[in-house]
């Protein structure tokens, strides 16, 4: 099987000093990879390097060039005068010339994407007036409109209500069934254990592989440093991480 995305020896960062160094992994069609790491460990840097927003300081990326991207929470402003549909339509920006008006096809795609995230009836609602989970779903709809073979989701489950999280989980099932590859940054170890492979980062690559092989205590300690805790459970001890602190 040919990989959708292949990364060899990647180093990237803001300016000339790498924040992230020595990454090598690949993403196959229909595969879900969990990207684990502490805050500041380089998860967002990796995504921005793949997207070409941050410079590649070393290494090589083989990608289809088109991505669907869901940035971490929204940095977008809540008082901004846009509807859910306006935001979803931003996903079409890179696919048509900047001066061309939006056509019926783009509108239909955006409407379909909103329906897919369960917001088909709320497309005219003001973005800032939606709940946090709904806003996250609008941003996922925007990534669907981008229609890339690879999706990059930066902590899509953080701060999201239970119904939105379940809907997002089912949506990811559908997307990998279509043969897309998905990279998901997360702090949820239990969730990552259910995915195909995990990539552990802490400013460099700690480990990459199937969760049952990779998510050992040693790897997690190296990935998270002091943030690690041990949880007693029925089948012996289980390792977890402290809830992330966002700044």
């Amino acid at each position: 099987m040919t990989a959708l995305l292949s990364v060899r020896g990647l180093a990237s960062g803001y300016g000339s000093v790498p924040v992230l160094d020595g990454l090598s992994f690949e993403l196959d069609p229909g595969e879900r990879i969990g990207v684990l790491g502490p805050n500041g460990g380089g998860k967002t840097t990796l995504f921005k390097a793949l997207l070409g927003i941050l410079p590649l300081l070393a290494g090589q990326i083989d990608s289809p060039g088109r991505f669907g991207y869901v940035p971490q929470t929204e940095r977008s402003r809540l008082d901004y005068p846009v509807s859910a549909l306006d935001v979803a339509l931003m996903g079409a920006l890179s696919r048509i010339a900047w001066w061309r008006p939006l056509g019926r096809t783009e509108r239909r795609n955006a409407q379909t994407a909103l329906a897919r995230v369960g917001l088909g009836d709320q497309s005219e609602e003001q973005f800032g007036e939606l709940s946090g989970g709904q806003r996250q779903r609008v941003l996922v709809a925007r990534a669907l409109v981008q229609d890339g073979p690879v999706l990059l989701l930066d902590e899509p489950f953080t701060g999201v209500d239970q119904p939105s999280a379940e809907l997002l989980d089912r949506l990811l099932d559908g997307l990998v069934a279509e043969g897309r590859g998905v990279l998901i940054a997360t702090h949820d170890l239990e969730q990552a254990r259910r995915w195909d492979r995990v990539l552990c980062l802490n400013r460099r690559q700690i480990a990459f592989g199937p969760p049952e092989q990779v998510l050992t205590r040693a790897v997690l300690e190296e990935t998270y440093g002091g943030e690690i805790v041990t949880l007693p459970s029925g089948s012996g001890e289980q390792v977890g991480i402290l809830p992330p602190h966002h700044h």
């Binding site: 921005k48 997207l51 070409g52 927003i53 991505f67 991207y69 940035p71 929204e74 940095r75 977008s76 402003r77 008082d79 901004y80 005068p81 846009v82 509807s83 306006d86 935001v87 339509l89 931003m90 996903g91 920006l93 890179s94 696919r95 900047w98 001066w99 939006l102 003001q126 925007r142 981008q146």
Partner: protein
């Protein structure tokens, strides 16, 4: 009364002044809304100030003022865009340094022994002295600015929504910033003949800021309301100027800002009344239902 209302409009110079204000109102309102969402009010004001040396150079060289203003504004816009993007300098510092330097340069040139009199016209404009040629140039620039805003709309919307990630969606934050500053420069050139470079900002930012208090959900209605406000304030300023014999540009700017303050205070008063009403109705709801320990003591 009707005569007093109609009288000013029989004068050609009042008609031309109003046409100039209407053009500036349409362009300024559409652009002003973007200026607010891009938090560029300070940058816009600085841009207006920094075209001063361009005006002085044009006056000295005897070329049309609009050309001088365009040149001055272009230099300032590029300097602000370039230095403002340097992380170690930052936008605020870059703007402060660039405009102080350029304004100082303008004053230096203007106070030279060879410079012509009438400097206050460059600073405050001459609304009632707007000529037909000035209007034709302003109309042409207005068409260019409005067309550009329509074409750039999606890019402006995406960058304003989430600047940090806009590039991931095919938007170009640097180009959008440059384009917006360039259009702002064009709008300032439209207005500088009538209002001067110290007052033009009132008409660029004032109506948009007023409209934003009233309309918050969608951009187009906000722009339309701002245009109506700008044109109404322009007409009001002309009446004031005609009958109270006050300076034209200052009258328009004064009324624009008075309307903004009025609407702001009105909205604040309305919000405070609504809060008090809510608090009272909650208090009533509490006192009408027996409290957890209230009944047993009596």
């Amino acid at each position: 009364m009707a005569h007093a209302l109609a009288d000013p409009w029989t004068q050609g110079f009042v008609q031309r002044a109003f046409f100039e204000l209407a053009l500036l109102g349409i362009v300024g309102s559409a652009l002003g809304c973007w200026v607010l969402f891009y938090e560029l009010s300070y940058g816009a004001e600085s841009l207006a100030h920094s075209l001063f040396p361009g005006l002085v150079v044009a006056a000295l060289a005897g070329i049309p003022l609009v050309l001088g203003a365009a040149g001055g504004v272009l230099v300032a816009a590029v300097a602000i865009a370039v230095f403002g993007r340097t992380p170690e300098i930052g936008r605020d510092t870059a703007i402060a340094v660039v405009i102080t330097t350029l304004f100082g340069l303008g004053v230096l040139l203007a106070l030279a022994p060879a410079s012509p009199p009438g400097l206050n016209e460059l600073l405050f404009g001459d609304l009632l002295g707007v000529s037909g040629t000035d209007l034709a140039i302003a109309a042409g620039l207005s068409v260019i600015v409005l067309t550009s805003l329509v074409l750039l709309h999606r890019q402006l919307l995406a960058v304003g929504f989430d600047r940090a990630n806009a590039a991931a969606f095919g938007a170009r934050p640097v180009l959008v910033d440059l384009a917006l500053l360039g259009l702002l420069a064009a709008a300032i050139v439209i207005g500088v003949q009538g209002l001067g470079n110290l007052l033009v900002l009132a008409v660029l930012v004032g109506p948009a800021a007023t409209a934003r208090v009233v309309v918050t959900r969608r951009l187009l209605p906000m722009m339309c309301l701002a245009t109506v406000i700008a044109i109404a304030c322009g007409a009001g300023g002309l009446y004031l100027s005609y009958y109270a014999e006050t300076a034209g540009g200052a009258s328009v700017a004064g009324i624009t800002l008075a309307v903004y303050l009025g609407v702001r205070l009105g909205a604040a008063a309305q919000a405070s009344v609504a809060r008090r009403f809510l608090a009272n109705s909650r208090k009533r709801a509490r006192s009408s239902s027996p409290g957890p320990s209230g009944g047993s003591l009596a």
